[in-house]
């Protein structure tokens, strides 16, 4: 185990940021801390980094008790949401910073910086200032800067949060490939469930200062431990006495054994997807998602009476 966190509590004044956190993060994996803003995930990451002190509990990194170790001594790479680029230093000098502090010989620094510039595809920008780079390029620079010190763990705080959707997606894929190449134990904070599900080996869902569930993306998606996890990992709707995902509902225009039935009251098309709302008489409105092809083969229209039931093997939480 690379990072062992036990019994960690953290308050900011009256606000309880983290409560009795126990967590083991395995070596070499890409772990996501997922949860809504203000849930404590960034605080936990900053505690691992040493940028924040715990009130109680301990943090052990690679077998060494780091609870009271200052950030400089932890050998962690930290990547900030807003890059924290050293504005007055060139891209190459930014990346070299940690090595210069460690007083490595100049040839070694140059070689390492060159290697990292290639890794993050910024070779041709080596002598630019950060202000001359795009957001995505700055974040890649920040990542190279953190990797330069060969950190025991790499910590990323909402690394793609400030980027636009397209760059976000590119960098997310790139981070996954990079991790497969470099294999450094990586923990990243995100509030975007899609990002966590797509990139991470394992996900820690944090809400209200507590860990809700730990597991692989599949485990979380297929066996959510709570209503919160189910609803946070994707859209949910209520069908009878259960919570279910809108695409896990079987919809039929013909009377059949069903949990609820009623007319289609809303019809929203988003790309290939059609989001329907069905409003039974004695039941709150139910969201149902079907593909465009399904909708046309079933011959669905607004106002049609439909019968709903869970598809076989759907994830659901009884409430």
């Amino acid at each position: 185990m690379s990072i062992e966190i036990s019994g960690v509590n953290k308050n900011f004044g009256d606000f309880v940021a983290l409560q009795d956190i126990d967590l083991s993060i395995p070596t070499g994996q890409l772990t996501a801390l997922l949860g809504p803003s203000g849930g404590g995930k960034t605080t936990l990451l900053r505690i691992i980094a040493g940028l924040e002190e715990t009130d109680t509990g301990s943090v052990v990194i690679e077998g060494q008790d780091a609870t009271h170790l200052p950030v400089q001594k932890r050998n962690v790479g930290f990547v900030f949401q807003h890059y924290a680029a050293f504005k007055h230093l060139s891209v190459a000098r930014n990346i070299a910073f940690g090595l210069e502090i460690r007083k490595r010989p100049a040839e070694e620094i140059n070689a390492k910086v060159g290697e990292l510039l290639d890794l993050v595809h910024l070779r041709q920008f080596a002598h630019r200032l950060p202000s001359q780079l795009s957001g995505g390029q700055r974040q890649r620079m920040a990542l190279a800067r953190a990797l330069a010190i060969e950190p025991t763990v790499l910590l990323l705080d909402e690394p793609f949060g400030a980027l636009d959707a397209k760059v976000r997606k590119e960098l997310r894929d790139w981070l996954r490939r990079l991790h497969d190449e470099v294999h450094v134990t990586t923990v990243f904070v995100t509030h975007d469930q899609e990002e966590a599900l797509e990139v991470a080996d394992s996900i820690v869902v944090i809400n209200d200062g507590r860990i809700e569930q730990i597991g692989t993306p599949d485990e979380l998606y297929d066996e959510p431990a709570s209503e919160f996890v189910l609803s946070f990992l994707g859209p949910v709707t209520r069908l009878g006495d259960r919570l279910i995902r809108p695409h896990d509902i079987e919809i039929s225009r013909y009377e059949q054994a069903s949990v609820a039935n009623g007319p289609i009251t809303r019809w929203t098309r988003v790309g290939f997807e059609i989001r329907l709302e069905v409003t039974p008489v004695d039941h709150p409105p139910i969201q149902v998602t079907v593909t465009r092809a399904e909708a046309s083969s079933l011959g669905l229209h607004v106002g049609d009476q439909v019968w709903l039931r869970p598809v076989v093997g759907a994830d659901q939480v009884r409430t």
Partner: protein, 278 residues
């Protein structure tokens, strides 16, 4: 782009009127009087400047002013950067009081500053002065007093430049440096100071200009002894009152040109810096 478009459209007669008013106002209040000092200095060619540099007492006064200004600026720069860091990067009780106190030197009359310093450091009756004087350190009616008074009146100028810049840059760059293994000291020299470099330079120039021109506080604490504790501004007054107006103008011209040159250099450097970084 859109913004400049808006201004271009709204450029009516009122805009021109306001612009003319501002220019006339500045001309009457600043440019014309200062220009007159320059023309009066060169009424007899270089004669008055030559007279100034021929008088050893005046040269001494110029030297003393320069020395006091440089030392006071050095003190206020180190102190100012330190206090700015304290104000922006840490929380402590009384912080707002300290922040308010730092503006005091700008708001109270320099004459009051001088009198206050005499009350504390005066050689005979001062609160602290006799003790220091018996230890061999004379403050009032001596160079340390002049430096002290100069430093007092120009105290907030570096701080007022550096504090907003420190706020603006935030702490993430510093935290990133720490996470990369830099000590607090290394972080200060390699990250914080370069980031606020231009604010410090600008603060230093303002402090220097203000220090060179200080009159009231220095007049009280220096004793105004010819060839010993008379500074350049005091010499200007002395010459002027003794009907030696041409030399008074010449010294005033020298003082003003140092400030103008300093501010000109900074604005040139600043605009170049902006061009590079944008």
């Amino acid at each position: 782009m859109a913004e400049s478009h808006v201004t271009r459209h709204s450029k009516g007669p009122v805009t021109y009127l306001l612009r003319a008013f501002a220019i006339v106002y500045l001309l009457l209040l600043v440019a014309w009087p200062v220009a007159l000092v320059v023309t009066h200095t060169f009424d007899n060619g270089l004669e008055s400047l030559r007279a100034v540099f021929a008088d050893p007492d005046t040269v001494h006064a110029l030297r003393l002013s320069a020395f006091a200004a440089v030392v006071a600026t050095a003190i206020n720069t180190v102190f100012g950067v330190g206090v700015s860091l304290l104000l922006v990067r840490s929380e402590f009780p009384g912080k707002r009081l300290l922040s308010a106190l730092l503006d005091l030197p700008l708001s109270i009359s320099p004459i009051v500053v001088g009198l206050a310093l005499v009350l504390v450091y005066g050689g005979r009756t001062g609160w602290f002065g006799p003790t220091l004087e018996s230890g061999g350190l004379k403050i009032i009616f001596s160079t340390p007093g002049i430096i002290l008074a100069t430093a007092f009146v120009s105290l907030p100028l570096v701080i007022r430049e550096v504090v907003p810049t420190l706020r603006e840059i935030g702490i993430e760059q510093e935290q990133a440096a720490l996470s990369l293994g830099a000590s607090t000291w290394q972080t200060f020299w390699r990250i914080t100071l370069p980031s606020v470099k231009w604010a410090v330079v600008y603060g230093v120039v303002l402090t220097l200009a203000r220090s060179l021109g200080e009159f009231g506080a220095v007049k009280v604490v220096s004793g105004n002894v010819l060839g010993e504790t008379r500074t350049a501004t005091l010499a200007v007054e002395e010459k002027y009152l003794n009907f030696n107006a041409s030399e008074a103008y010449a010294i005033a011209f020298l003082l003003a040109s140092v400030s103008v040159v300093a501010i000109a250099i900074v604005s040139i450097l600043r605009s170049r810096e902006k061009r590079i970084s944008s």
